[in-house]
């Protein structure tokens, strides 16, 4: 308990420092947020144009598709906002030997790396995601219950852990191979599949994004439960399970990675 309190305190301090840093480069951060907003808008335009040609996509209405899309952006955005420094581990922190610094400090290295940076660009995704959910929800006839609200709220942090866990696993590869940016990228890009209803894919793809690189669990399955009230045990349970398992696996690989870390230079 004391440890958790301390972690939150340190995290808050890092966040405050990051915000101060951002004030020094305000323009850049605004440009970044707008960049991510634009990325979402161009995808939405694509969806909108498609739905001018067809009434529904394999039985999914525009509103439902947009809801799933919006829902997918929330865990993605949260992970992006708080845990984006993992990319830097794969790109250069390990290769250039900058990881030395984390190892000489008396806090958990994974926590330190993740807490240290805040990726404000992510607001471009988060804001879009929340906005899309708010806009589409009233137009969808969703039956709400207390349980549903609770489960929906629970699914978000665990969906985030799916992202963070996959990034931790793949970033840790850098401890052995020096750089792993491209590996993180390859796995991370699979999340593209998560933005749309999983029923549009064939069985192979669907199984991969459900059981192997389970990005479908970050949006489609929770959304399925929220929209249709189907099978909460699988739709939410699997998300919780996968999020915890992937993060735990990531932490283990990371731990062994730090022991294999070779620093840089002579």
């Amino acid at each position: 308990m004391k440890q958790i309190k301390r972690a939150f305190k340190i995290h808050r301090i890092f966040v405050v420092q990051e915000l101060k840093r951002m004030m020094e480069y305000k323009g850049d951060f605004i440009v970044g947020i707008i960049g991510f907003l634009l990325a979402q808008i161009s995808n939405l335009l694509f969806l909108w144009i498609i739905f001018t040609k067809v009434p529904s996509l394999m039985g999914w209405s525009l509103n439902e598709v947009v809801f799933i899309y919006g829902f997918s952006l929330v865990p993605k955005g949260i992970d992006h906002l708080f845990f984006d420094n993992l990319w830097a581990v794969g790109h250069y922190i390990v290769r250039k030997g900058d990881f030395d610094r984390y190892l000489t400090r008396p806090i958990n290295t994974l926590f330190h790396v993740m807490a240290e940076k805040l990726q404000i660009d992510a607001f471009g995704e988060l804001l879009t995601g929340v906005a899309l959910i708010i806009v589409t929800l009233p137009q969808l006839s969703v039956e709400w219950s207390v349980l549903k609200v609770i489960l929906a709220l629970i699914s978000v942090p665990f969906a985030t852990l799916i992202y963070t866990g996959i990034k931790t696993c793949t970033a840790s590869v850098a401890f052995w191979s020096k750089r792993s940016g491209s590996i993180i990228y390859m796995f991370y890009m699979t999340n593209e599949f998560a933005k749309y209803p999983a029923t549009i894919y064939n069985t192979v793809v669907r199984n991969i994004i459900t059981y192997v690189i389970p990005f479908a669990l970050t949006s489609y399955f929770p959304a399925l439960y929220i929209l249709k009230g189907e099978n909460p045990l699988f739709n939410i349970g699997m998300t919780v399970l996968a999020g915890s398992a992937l993060m735990a696996l990531g932490a283990v690989i990371w731990h062994f990675g730090t022991r294999a870390y070779e620093s840089a230079g002579s």
């Binding site: 040609k53 067809v54 390859m186 894919y201």
Partner: protein, 272 residues
């Protein structure tokens, strides 16, 4: 010419070595990028099976599939990192080093990147073209490959690459204004992606919008080569679009020269 070849060969060679060293990385990046192609593929399949009709805006499903993968191939062929490289050099000040070398500023970038691309292109072009043609043959019954279109496609790609390269050089100079180009690059990628038809064929847009977009330099990047490949442009139309590409290539080349001159002044005044 021979002198130029001698000067620039080391840059080509360096670029090629870079790729060879990081080839595994490069393959992973390509695999990552190809994901969104497959997502589009499934979405379009769903669209066509959801009662949109056999033919949308002149595209059948096989057309669309070929379009998606050709778009991917073309963007990879004409892709340029120049804005990142220039941006980075402006930011850390190493751009000054380019001043003291007796070779053209744009030239050094261009040839280093060409060396880089020469290898990647060949590794990517052959399997992807064979793949696309196989899909086309299977979907449309019979081989559709047209060597003449393919050749003109390659020419068009070269023009598109030059447009993209010089456009990116110009864009990189933005780093004199904005410190980190990351966000700006992302914005650029989105706008270009949409305006160049990568996300959705321009034919799907409202007609007046399509007409305007076709004139913009971005359509000259991906859309024109792909349209040529799948045989949508012929005769005078073909010449018109190639001419437009040439125009934009020259325009951005001129602009990059101009911006370079301005920034040299800026550098010499500021003392780097």
């Amino acid at each position: 010419m021979r002198r130029a070849a001698k000067i620039y060969f080391p840059f080509i060679n360096a670029g090629m070595q870079e790729v060879a060293t990081y080839r595994v990385n490069w393959i992973f990046y390509i695999l990552g990028n190809v994901m969104s192609c497959f997502v589009s593929y499934f979405i379009w399949k769903a669209v066509y099976s959801s009662g949109g009709g056999e033919n949308l805006e002149g595209f059948t499903l096989p057309d669309m599939i070929v379009y998606i993968f050709l778009m991917f191939l073309t963007s990879t062929i004409i892709g340029s990192d120049a804005s990142y490289v220039v941006g980075e050099e402006v930011r850390d000040g190493s751009i000054v080093m380019r001043l003291i070398k007796p070779v053209s500023y744009n030239g050094t970038f261009l040839f280093q990147e060409l060396g880089n691309k020469l290898l990647t292109e060949i590794m990517l072009l052959v399997p992807l073209v064979v793949g696309v043609e196989a899909v086309r043959a299977a979907l449309m019954g019979g081989i559709q490959f047209n060597p003449l279109s393919f050749l003109i496609y390659l020419v068009s790609c070269v023009l598109a690459y030059l447009i993209n390269f010089f456009f990116n050089i110009c864009f990189g100079f933005l780093a004199f204004v904005v410190k980190y180009l990351w966000g700006a690059n992302l914005m650029k990628a989105c706008v270009v992606g949409f305006l160049s038809g990568t996300i959705i064929p321009l034919a799907f847009l409202p007609k007046p919008l399509e007409a305007v977009f076709l004139l913009l330099p971005f359509a000259s990047l991906n859309y024109t080569p792909v349209m040529i490949y799948i045989g949508r442009y012929s005769g005078l139309t073909l010449l018109y679009y190639l001419g437009l590409q040439l125009f934009w290539a020259l325009a951005f080349w001129g602009l990059s020269k101009f911006l370079w001159r301005v920034s040299v002044k800026h550098l010499t005044v500021q003392g780097g």
